[in-house]
Amino acid sequence: MQISLRYKDKGTVIHRLNPFAKLAWVGSVTLLAVIFEHPLFLLLLFLATLPVVILARAWREWVSLIRFVIYMSLVIVIINSLVMYHGTHVLLEFTFEIPTLGNPKITLEAICFGLGMSLRLLAIVSAFTVLNFTVHPDDLMLAMIKLKLPYKSVLAMSMSTRFIPTLAGDLERITDVQRARGLEMDKGRLRQKLKSRGAVLIPLLANSLDRTVQVAEAMESRAFGALKKRTYHREIRLGTYDLVTVCAAISPFFFGLYLRYLGYGGYRYYPSLQKIDPGQTGWLFLAALAVLLLLILPLAWRRRRYILD
């Protein structure tokens, strides 16, 4: 089985950025994408993720995600255009009637709403690429510990990542063993195929359960649970500079929230499309938001070790 983490260490400035800053930034973009409706604002959010993706050299992986986004966008457009008949610019009107939905017609407004929402999806997926491709799972767990999430859960997750290579090795070995006994994995119909997988799954499960007992034994022998309190050898640094970066990463969210409060960023699609031009102050605010969103890049330039140990 070919398994590879999404994360690839490419050593770029984005990879070296404090994970809290990245989490905050991705969170900001996602939240903004949810509270904004205006297509220009959504477009800005999406465009703002691009330089980060490019700097993280995750471009190729990002492109491969686009297929999924396009499919989902299509669904968004179709659902929205099928249910909303309020638009005034009717592009196509069907003669038949769908029960409960009525006489379907497709309006320009509904399609535009769908497209707007696709931009929202695009911005969210694109922002999460940064998280998926540049934050190491271990760092994610260190961040969870720093956030004071319950330790046993974080430990369980950390142990899971540690079991992955072991299990992958077990799987490969057991597959070889059972094939050597004459098991044909790819013979027959789906049911038969899956059934023969059972000859691999059951030993894998039994071996793994054996392992858990032994690992637990080893943990207790190393004082696990001896004290209520525990310390951490490795922690994510949150010094002044890191805090500044994190604040810079969150700043667009608060600014965006304020803009939304002022009435910007909303958009009326129905019954007919609102004027898309946000006005002079609107453009100004957009520019300011763009600056805040990209503030993280110059801050990332100063490479610092973000792990204390």
């Binding site: 050597a180 044909e184 000859a199 030993p203 034994e217 022998s221 190393r222």
Partner: protein
């Protein structure tokens, strides 16, 4: 300081005790070897020392165990961790985190030590074990030996006064095992750490320890200085199935025949010194021509007629430009018993996976009974080539022992399943366990079952990958006897092993691989004598006695005795 008084222990609802009336006192700074056959209670005793028994395993316990002044019945393993460090058999199953530094830090974090202290102790632990170079590596990239060293380091970081190791080398290759053992010796010598080592292969460690404790059937049957125990209790040890090193066997046999030997030698060096004086004083004389076994073997090699397995210029690579096998050519005939040896990553496993088509040649050709493996599926090959893997657990799939055996028959499309299952169960002495859950059998039984589940299809070629790893002396002998019988039925047995003594015991032809090439291929006498690392103990002892007329290709204690007394 450990004091055990009148300890008797039962697991869960077991009727037989795992440990019976154990009395043992261990002084500070001792290096103790606990030996004995599998199932003798070694592991249970080790787990008593840090409270895993009974806190983790449950069960009933009588008697008193006191470790560094704490009674283990009252104190759980987590409290004893700073007094007793415990290292387990499988390095894979005692690592908790993903990289070396964090692994060592884990125990220290549990103790809530401040960060500078943790950093300091990590540094110390890395240096003590000599793995500072690994500090930033991911654990899954490390070899078994390296993992085990990290496990030791992570236990040492807690600064225990006693280190208990439960067969720490049984999953390792010889080199890794050697390194781990030398670390233990250093810890004991230089730091004065009390080391309690559970191990059943005496020849590797006997010369390092101060004291030998032998457990059999839950009881201590011998306890004392290694030389004394081996001398005074030799018969009992052999009867209990303890794997006595071949050198000791030879010396004991010599003594039985009246050769005066004062001190039992434990190392090759000591062995040579003893034999030197024996030969010099002319107490015995070697008779090189009185070795009858030699002719028989030569006759056998002449029989090689048409080959059953033909390998021509075989190349294989898992990744491009990194060939693992580089142009291997072999011919194997019926009735051969072959040992494939070599360092780690020499390509042994890759080679044998070609015999049943699990791997297909990148270049070259593999033919088994005239059939090219490239044109056959693994399932088709399974009728001709049986394959027993190292870990019997990987084989076990069914709910009962009988089903496990029947499963192979179904897969290979054999008829008359119930009768053949019964037969096989009887032959492998498994009939008693017919309806039991295979996974919970003991190690030796599991191994037999794995073997039975492959051999029930009667494949004319049997391939085994490290079948003796972790096996005690008696099980090893049983297996080897069985394999030899199987070969005599005209079948081919191919064995991958690190264990020279195993190879010597029954293989006739030895193939030595290195860097994906066959370095030597020939009779075991040619390959294994004078081969430094790959020579058995007896051969190494007898090297240098050529001047007395001792042939340099003697491999076993039996041969050495024949040499002296003519059989």
């Amino acid at each position: 300081m450990i004091k055990i008084k009148g300890l008797t222990f039962f697991y869960g609802d077991a009727r037989e005790p795992a440990l019976k009336n154990i009395n043992l006192t261990v002084g500070d700074g001792e290096f103790i070897l606990i030996a004995g056959p599998s199932g003798g209670g070694k592991s249970s005793l080790a787990r008593c020392l840090n409270g895993l028994v009974p806190h983790f395993y449950g069960g009933r316990l009588k008697g008193r165990i006191e470790v560094e002044g704490l009674e283990t019945i009252r104190h759980a393993p987590k409290e004893l961790a700073t007094r007793v460090g415990m290292v387990f058999q499988d390095p894979e199953n005692q690592l908790v985190t993903t990289d070396v530094e964090r692994e060592i830090a884990f125990g220290l974090e549990n103790l809530a030590l401040p960060r500078p202290e943790i950093a300091k102790r990590i540094e110390e632990a890395l240096d003590t074990v000599g793995v500072a170079g690994l500090r930033c590596r991911s654990l899954h990239e490390l070899s078994g030996g390296e993992k085990q060293k990290v496990a030791i380091a992570s236990v040492l970081a807690l600064k225990p006064r006693v280190l208990v190791l439960d067969e720490p080398t049984s999953e390792l290759d010889p080199q890794g095992a050697e390194e781990v053992l030398s670390i233990l010796q250093r810890l004991n010598d230089e730091l004065g750490l009390t080391v309690i080592l559970v191990e059943h292969r005496l020849e590797r460690v006997i010369h390092l320890v101060d004291r030998l404790v032998v457990l059999s059937a839950g009881e201590i049957i011998a306890d004392g200085r290694p030389q004394e125990v081996l001398e005074a209790r030799y018969e009992e040890l052999v009867r209990a199935g303890v794997g006595v090193p071949p050198l000791i066997v030879l010396i004991q046999k010599l003594k039985e025949r009246g050769v005066p030997i004062e001190r039992i030698p434990l190392t090759v060096k000591e062995g040579r010194a003893v034999l030197e004086s024996v030969f010099r004083e002319g107490i015995v004389h070697p008779h090189p021509d009185s070795l009858p076994s030699r002719e028989r073997e030569e006759k056998h090699t002449e029989e090689q007629a048409e080959p059953a397995i033909e390998i021509e210029n075989l190349w294989h690579a898992y990744q491009q430009d990194q060939p693992v096998l580089k142009g291997i050519s072999l011919r194997i005939s019926r009735g051969e018993f072959i040992a494939v040896m070599g360092r780690n990553a020499a390509g042994k496993s890759t080679l044998i996976k070609h015999f049943n088509g699990l791997l297909k040649p990148l270049q070259g050709r593999v033919r088994v009974f005239g059939r090219d493996t490239r044109g056959a599926t693994v399932a088709e090959m399974a009728r001709h080539v049986g394959y027993v893997f190292q870990n019997p657990n990987d084989h076990l799939f069914a709910d009962t022992v009988a089903e496990e055996i029947a499963f192979t028959l179904k897969l290979t499309g054999c008829g008359d399943i119930p009768r053949r299952v019964e037969e096989t169960l009887a032959r492998f002495n498994l009939a008693r366990y017919k309806d039991q859950y295979p996974h919970f059998l003991s190690g030796g039984e599991k191994q037999r079952l794995a073997l039975a589940s492959v051999l029930v299809a009667q494949p004319p070629v049997l391939v085994l990958d490290e079948p003796t790893r972790g096996m005690d002396h008696r099980l090893k002998n049983e297996l080897m006897q069985f394999l030899d019988d199987y070969r005599k039925g005209g079948n081919i047995v191919i064995l991958v092993t690190h264990d020279v003594e195993t190879a010597v015991a029954c293989a006739e032809r030895v193939i030595l691989l290195s860097e994906g090439k066959v370095v030597v291929d020939g009779n075991k006498k040619e390959v294994l004598s004078r081969a430094l690392l790959f020579s058995p103990q007896i051969n190494r002892v007898l090297q240098g006695f050529a001047g007395y007329g001792v042939p340099q290709d003697i491999l076993t204690a039996e041969e050495a005795l024949e040499l002296v007394w003519g059989g």
